[in-house]
């Protein structure tokens, strides 16, 4: 395991170093900030600027992320099933293996049909 982890650690180092180096190079290359204080804030005709600029963020993103996570969890159970399927075929258990995975996916498919019927599967109109 140690031999195989070395490229992984190198990759991790590279991934960590990349944004750090990018930010440091950017800081060294850009002109220094010459204004200070109130000049940094957006001009609003004399009214002190208040917070809360993001505004209304759509809940639809959250719903799609939810559906992604739920089906992703199911996929995480699908991966070891797929890895061991060949072993089950050799042990003549392929049909049983298929049946229980189809049951599990079918349960989620019921949820999927509910979502489709209630219009959550189509994008913004």
């Amino acid at each position: 395991m140690h031999r195989a982890s070395i490229p992984l650690l190198l990759y991790a180092l590279l991934v960590t170093a990349f944004p750090v180096v990018a930010l440091l190079v950017a800081r060294s290359k850009r002109p220094a900030l010459t204004v200070l204080g109130a000049k940094l804030y957006p001009h609003e005709s004399g009214i002190p600027p208040e917070d809360g600029a993001p505004g209304k963020y759509s809940v639809r993103f959250f719903i799609f992320a939810t559906l992604f996570v739920i089906f992703e969890v199911q996929m995480m159970f699908l991966i070891p099933w797929a890895i061991s399927f060949r072993g089950w075929v050799a042990a003549h258990m392929a049909v049983f293996a298929l049946i229980w995975m189809v049951i599990s996916l079918g349960i989620l498919f019921v949820g999927y049909t509910w979502l489709r019927r209630h219009g959550h599967c189509s994008g913004p109109e």
Partner: protein, 172 residues
């Protein structure tokens, strides 16, 4: 030796960023700290030779659940929360609960001082001839004795999905 070094690196990162996460006033900072903690935990899983859990942790926890948290932090207006008290009114009770937990652990370790053949029980090392479980074994165990749990998990996912969508629908 490299085992210990890797473990200590990930362990220190995990504990430090966890402590940071709990003490941040800004929820964004807390989310970023938690992402770092989860990545360090994934590193610990890899160091324990649990390759499949390492992948699951990164794909599901970091890039699934934490993305959900980030979306919610963006949906919800947190400016009011940032100006209020950080800690709840029962903080001394909470600290006392933690002291009690630590005392319980110390008592357990103290009362199990010696197992006759092995010395102090908490310092048992991994026997070098024990092979760590591979993904194949995990799969066989998952779809063997724990098959019913797996089916129940998909029912739980169905419930969570429909519940979450029903809670956040437009017409309330």
């Amino acid at each position: 030796m490299p085992d210990s070094v890797v473990f200590y690196i990930f362990a220190v990162i995990a504990v430090v960023t966890a402590a940071l996460m709990v003490t941040r006033r800004n929820a964004w900072h807390g989310a970023v700290c938690l992402i770092t903690t989860l990545l360090a935990t994934a590193g610990i899983f890899l160091q324990l030779h649990a390759g499949f859990l390492f992948i699951v942790q990164i794909i599901l926890y970091v890039s699934g659940i934490m993305v959900l948290f980030v979306f919610v932090i963006m949906c919800v207006n947190l400016n009011v929360a940032m100006q209020q008290m950080k800690f709840a009114r029962q903080k001394w009770v909470a600290l006392m609960v933690c002291v009690v937990l630590v005392a319980q652990l110390a008592l357990i370790i103290w009362s199990l001082r010696k197992i006759p053949s092995q010395g102090l029980p908490v310092f048992v090392s991994v026997a070098p001839e024990r092979v760590p479980p591979t993904t194949q074994e995990v799969a066989k165990s998952l779809f063997g004795p724990y098959l019913l749990s797996f089916e129940i998990v998909s029912v739980m996912l169905l419930v969570a999905m429909i519940g979450a969508v029903a809670l956040t629908k437009k017409k309330m």
